[in-house]
Symmetry: C2
């Protein structure tokens, strides 16, 4: 298997290392910066460091574009242009609408591994970076089913847990659980810096709460400038919602409303408990067999329907059967979850049976 990595920093380099170590793949890498190419070669993240995109993509089965968010539409477009008809092209950007809307190619699937946002550079890359991490995939009706199935399997074999989501939902969820916490960390350190400086005090050797909350403050500007700009609308909505909640908390405090404060705090504890309770089903893995018409988008449709109900597809197989039909096999963990998946698939107008 040949894997091409476009952009060999932390994420691209880790994909290279994981693909080599876990899949025995031949990994070619391209990066516009010669020093980055050399570092990737030295780190063992790629076997071939290429001076052009075309050279890296030559004969590739998969191409991962790990470029800054704002250049993704261009670089993904160039990668698609330089790659063969059977190559699956994906990206690893933290914001998905712009690139997915710009690229309609059936060989392309937007992607976003939730890993490694805080260090940078191939020198921090490692083969286990994606172990057990959620790796969002954002297929659309234009996505070729075999491309999705192949990418899903590859990502599973890199150690990650693929989860299908539509690009708009992805961006709204990330605005809330990733980008907004970064904004809050930034404003919180600015506020604390002002207070401490005004009071002539220094940060106390305090408990970990302030340190934790502000750990991501001022994260890598070259990366985050692009993320903030690309997801500005969703993030502005999230900030507005948060400010309304802050104002409500402020009113409880200003009114000295102890019961209101207690109820608000209890609700937060309950929200947190529910957010972090494990969504993972346990138990046996069941194989569901779904005969499907051979039309574009059907695999994406199934993946997104299950993704919307937060059902993990442990593994996936797509088997063509003649020109107009094929079979999708889905491995789902847990009897009840598998049953729910069957119902969802039937809801798409498809038949389904357990193997």
């Amino acid at each position: 298997m040949k894997v091409a990595v476009v952009g060999v920093g932390l994420i691209g380099g880790s994909i290279g290392l994981a693909a080599r170590r876990r899949l025995g793949a031949l990994v070619s890498g391209y990066d516009p910066a010669p020093a980055a190419r050399e570092a990737a070669l030295a780190r063992g993240a790629v076997q071939r460091a290429c001076a052009s995109l075309a050279e890296a993509l030559d004969g590739a089965d998969f191409a991962f574009v790990a470029a800054p968010v704002h250049v993704l539409p261009d670089v993904v477009g160039a990668a698609l242009a330089a790659s063969g008809e059977d190559c699956v092209v994906t990206d690893v950007g933290s914001v998905k609408r712009a690139v997915v809307e710009a690229v309609g190619d059936p060989r392309f699937i937007g992607g976003h591994p939730l890993a490694g946002a805080e260090t940078a550079g191939v020198e921090h890359a490692h083969a286990d970076l994606f172990q057990d991490a959620t790796w969002y995939l954002t297929p659309t009706a234009a996505t070729r089913g075999t491309a999705y199935e192949r990418l899903h399997r590859l990502i599973t074999r890199l150690g990650a847990c693929p989860a299908a989501m539509d690009p708009a939902t992805h961006d709204v969820v990330m605005a809330s659980v990733s980008h907004l916490p970064h904004v809050l960390a930034n404003v919180l350190v600015a506020q604390a810096a002002r207070v401490l400086s005004a009071e002539g005090e220094r940060l106390p050797a305090t408990g970990p709460s302030f340190r934790d909350v502000t750990r991501v403050a001022g994260a890598n500007t070259s990366l985050w400038r692009g993320i903030y700009l690309a997801n500005a609308d969703a993030l502005v909505d999230a900030i507005d919602d948060l400010m309304a909640r802050l104002r409500a908390a402020r009113e409880l405090l200003a009114a000295g409303d102890g019961d209101g404060i207690a109820a608000w705090n209890d609700a937060a504890r309950e929200d947190r408990r529910r957010l972090f309770e494990s969504g993972k089903a346990g138990g046996e893995v069941f194989e569901l067999v779904v005969p499907v018409p051979n039309r574009p988008g059907i695999v994406a449709e199934i993946a997104l329907a299950l993704g919307r109900q937060t059902i993990d597809i442990v593994d996936m197989g797509l088997y063509p059967a003649g020109g107009t039909h094929g079979t999708v096999c889905l491995w789902i963990r847990g009897d009840a979850v598998a049953e729910q998946a069957e119902a969802l698939v039937r809801g798409l107008g498809l038949e389904v049976a357990r193997a």
Copy 2:
């Protein structure tokens, strides 16, 4: 040495354990809840579990009041009434103005160890809870110098780093670095819960940022209700300041101002770096000898003057010399810091010499 602990939960119990293990003290404990008294005895946090405040305080050299913030003025008052003329009484509340303003006794010094806010109960108590933790002390002009000196030494021997601060500054700083992060954690989980629920998604197995930022969401309501109420005015100010900063960030995002976003993010990184850069001086410890008039408040004055410049007093001794004069010895780490301390002490109109 006899130490009394009023309220034997996590903090009171840990004080008891540390005083027994590190100082060989005889520790008496009182708690209004019989079960808490039994648990403290079973945990070894106290040698004597007393059914009344008076019994616990009988003959005590030090009394630590570890009661909920809203009852501190009453319980500290009762402890002072029940304790001898040479007993030093302190508390461990997270908010300091109310109790310090309510209590004018020269034997009382407000205190606040920055440790252990997240678990509760004597079963989590341990003798090392305060190791290297900042332990704020809020002496006033009414504070007896010998009381401050004895408490400072005791706290040092419990493993903590005492730091003098006036009560109002303490509350403003805590509003910013502790109470506000708790408020933000609460509103952030509420926001994320709404978004994920609206999108039918669950929290991704994401990087640690969201988990870190929201770790303290919904912290112990019985504790935090009191903290929020007691520091409501400072916290409302901090929220207002934070909202102004959030609005500014929102405008940069809404305007798509990439350079502004980059500058804002860089500033946050710089704020964070400065906040967390170690304020600890290294090097040799110097002894400063300060002859002082024997008048109330002089020790508090020295401690607060050094505290305002974030100078740690490694250790402190107070030696009476006749009826009207005494000597304060201050141990300060680092030649330059000691020199700065000397200048500050001279600025108070006192003489100072290195031993």
